[in-house]
Symmetry: C2
DNA sequence: GTATACCCTAACGTTAATGTCAAGCTGTAA
DNA sequence: TTACAGCTTGACATTAACGTTAGGGTATAC
């Protein structure tokens, strides 16, 4: 399969796939004309990355996952470790955003939102 | 007041303050030696930006808020509009992260996390 | 007069994940 | 054979919000 077919199958762009190859997440065979050639296993790995990216893993994290995926002697404890680190990061992000949202909600509640200049939001930001 | 004093007061870096000036969020008077000189009103505005940044507003959004802050004919409805847009963005982000977290939680629950290679997380990412 | 700690501008570096473009080879249908 | 679409590498561009460095002027205490 050629790169554009892989792109279509996985929903990634051609550029993204080449980028992952640059970072050694994927390898590609070459045809006589130097076009990249992918077999089913390669397609499998690219799909793997695509799914992991959609799950919120960074390309770097995908790299670690791919290594485990390729490693028949892996321990599932290593995989779950990466997943848990990711989950904790997500938790932190969510909490931070929720704090921000709370503050904003509070300010929004206090602002009349009319045609007069008086505004508790600006007041709060200046005080 | 000199720039480093403003930085100390607001918790921003000197570089950040100069950056905001570059983007025309702030102006500065100059002393005979070309040093930036800030009065109380300027300090006020820099604090304003600092607080808004900490509340999660982007520099660009701060720029809009500053304009309203400077505008005596503003309507508080315009301010609340920006705040609400920001809150909605936050909501979307939070929801997206929570979805990701849910998927991860589900995968983590299913993975034994032992010394054997079998791992539902990798399975799911490949299927 | 010298050490030290400020200040200035200008400009390149950082991070992630591609987008975009140039310049050229390849494959295929009409 | 002449389009035209698709492939190649390589390299610069993008976004946000500054960090960092270079090269140089300034203030002040000793």
């Amino acid at each position: 399969m050629k790169i554009s077919e892989i792109a279509k199958e996985t929903g990634l762009t051609v550029r993204a796939i080449r980028y992952y190859e640059e970072l050694n997440l994927i390898k590609s065979d070459r045809l006589y004309n130097n076009y990249r050639d992918y077999d089913k296993e390669a397609l499998f790995k690219v799909s793997f990355i695509s799914r992991a990216r959609k799950l919120g893993f960074s390309v770097d994290e995908c790299s670690s996952l791919i290594k485990l995926f390729n490693d028949n002697n892996r321990h599932s404890s290593e995989v779950i470790k990466i997943a848990k680190i990711k989950r904790n990061k997500l938790n932190d992000q969510i909490e931070e955003l929720q704090d921000l949202k709370k503050s904003l909600d509070w300010l929004i509640k206090k602002c009349p939102g009319d045609d007069k200049p008086n505004c508790p939001i600006l007041d709060e930001l200046s005080s």
